[in-house]
């Protein structure tokens, strides 16, 4: 049984008396519900954070009215508005694919969350191929985006979807290669093994290992992950001035909310992968700080990376398509190959 199941069985002894399949189903349902609630709450929080971060970067105030203190209830009001909105489906869309696309995008993102190690006990599914699983499942998002773009029967949607697909598929290569650096160092694809290897102080975390090569791999991963989640400076698929809103131009109401939720959840997902692979996951920077629970460290580090994503979004301009491809194929991919080969040689020596 995986750690989360054992954790629940320790908490509620009733689980030990149940047949295995029932216990597994119930733990799965509990884990799924927890993840869903976490994603929704995170998205609410992140939208508020994004507004405030952007406002402060541009020397304005952001939402200040709703709820009193610094407009904290603004995103809740927005969420209620989205729930209550009329669900418009344009006349000439392909109805089946139009309805399936948000589900696919959202489902793929949620599935990827299932293998994240929030703490030593809180890993919904502790697979021995966890990292590979997350990469594989999140590649389903591309199919959902293409589905949404094509079925909308709108040229902006289709162009946006094509751009998104080309960009995500290209940037998967530097992402996989930079993560492979850590996999080669640790010798395991298991997410909790990857974290446990970095036990000790901050200097045992992979991003400070191997004479700065770990840091290069971390930076390559972070830059490429920005492109993977369509954030500035790589937000060409949603370039407002050229493509209206990209692949979700025709979506409204709840279906749009699902895309939006998946987008923010993806931001957290890539930050969480970086946290657990390069930044020591749930481990504190110094063993003295052990009294703070692991999940707090994990979420805190991930939120810090999410903050950097927002910081970059409101500081950098958007790239051109050729610059986008140049960055991927001529900068990130060769450098990640070089880092991987040097680290592998160092390990053999």
């Amino acid at each position: 049984m995986d750690p989360f199941g054992r954790f629940l069985a320790d908490l509620i002894p009733l689980f030990n008396d149940m047949p295995a399949w029932l216990a597994i189903t119930i733990t799965g349902l509990i884990a799924g519900t927890l993840l869903l609630v976490f994603m929704a709450v995170f998205a609410l929080f992140a939208v508020y954070l994004e507004r405030k971060v952007s406002a402060h970067m541009q020397d304005r105030l952001g939402p200040m009215e709703v709820g009193g203190w610094h407009g904290w209830a603004q995103t809740i009001a927005d969420a209620v508005k989205l729930l209550a909105k009329e669900d418009l489906i344009p006349k000439n869309v392909d109805r089946i694919l139009f309805k399936a696309a948000p589900m696919l995008v959202f489902g793929a993102t949620t599935a990827a969350f299932g293998a994240l190690p929030f703490s030593a006990d809180l890993i919904p599914a502790d697979m021995n191929i966890g990292l590979l699983y997350i990469l594989a499942v999140s590649s389903l998002v591309v199919i959902g985006i293409l589905m949404a773009g094509w079925s909308s029967n709108n040229k902006w949607s289709l162009y946006g979807a094509m751009r998104a697909a080309a960009q995500i598929v290209s940037y998967e290569i530097p992402i996989a290669l930079s993560l492979l650096v850590a996999v080669v160092i640790v010798g395991s694809l298991n997410m909790s093994d990857l974290v446990r290897f970095q036990d000790g102080t901050i200097f045992d975390w992979i991003f400070l290992k191997y004479y700065g090569l770990g840091f290069i791999a971390f930076i390559i991963y972070f830059v490429a992950s920005l492109a993977e989640v369509n954030r500035t400076p790589f937000d060409l698929p949603e370039a407002e001035s050229e493509l209206v809103a990209g692949f979700h131009t025709e979506y409204s109401g709840m279906r749009f909310a699902m895309f939006f939720l998946a987008e923010y959840a993806n931001m957290f997902l890539v930050a969480a992968i970086a946290t657990s692979v390069f930044l020591g996951g749930w481990l504190p920077p110094f063993p003295v700080l052990d009294f703070i629970p692991g999940a707090v460290w994990f979420v805190g580090k991930s939120l810090f990376l999410v903050f950097i994503q927002m910081w970059l979004r409101w500081t950098l301009p958007r790239l051109r398509v050729d610059q986008l491809m140049y960055t991927c194929w001529k900068v990130l991919t060769p450098f990640s190959f070089a880092v991987l080969m040097i680290v592998a040689t160092l390990i053999i020596i």
């Binding site: 694919l97 191929i129 389903l140």
Partner: protein, 166 residues
């Protein structure tokens, strides 16, 4: 019936039905998208054989790579809806003979093969064993495959660059 068996039947049904849509749909776009379910169903079946690494590789390579290529191809074609894929003349007798012939051959192979019943050894991790087998006993086929892929890569770069000269 055990819960895992019910789950297996559901997965098998999804795989077979989506494969049927791939084969029989006259809307190419539906065929391409239901290929997603087929490939995913296969990955789930690999999990039942406790081949988790192969399952994930299946999703990563076929869904994340090849299916997207196919979709790009489909989205570029004109008249995605209602393409009549029937050829003009459909000779019934040769078609029937070929179909029955291959069904008989496949059936003979399926029923004559002495399938080994492997004892249920549980879900043991196989990634390490695959890695050692590739780097040990099967090093030569692995290297030959990588040379083939390298040749394909160079070829595609050459084709892509040739247009620049015009």
């Amino acid at each position: 019936m055990e819960a895992t068996e019910i789950l297996f039947l559901i997965i098998a049904a999804i795989t077979v039905i989506s494969a049927a849509i791939v084969a029989f749909s006259n809307k190419i776009i539906y065929a391409a998208f239901s290929l997603l379910l087929t490939l995913f169903g296969f990955a789930a079946l690999y999990v039942y054989l406790s081949a988790d690494f192969i399952a994930v590789s299946q999703v990563m390579i076929y869904v994340g790579g090849i299916l997207i290529l196919i979709l790009f191809g489909v989205l570029m074609t004109q008249r995605i809806y209602d393409v009549s894929v029937k050829s003009e003349r459909n000779p019934v007798l040769p078609t029937l003979l070929t179909a029955i012939g291959s069904a008989v051959v496949l059936g003979l192979i399926i029923f004559k093969t002495p399938w080994r019943q492997v004892a249920d050894s549980g879900y043991a991790p196989i990634t390490e064993r695959i890695g050692q087998a590739i780097m040990g006993d099967f090093l030569l086929p692995f290297e030959i495959a990588s040379i083939l892929l390298l040749a394909a890569l160079i070829g595609s770069v050459f084709i892509a660059r040739a247009e620049e000269k015009k």
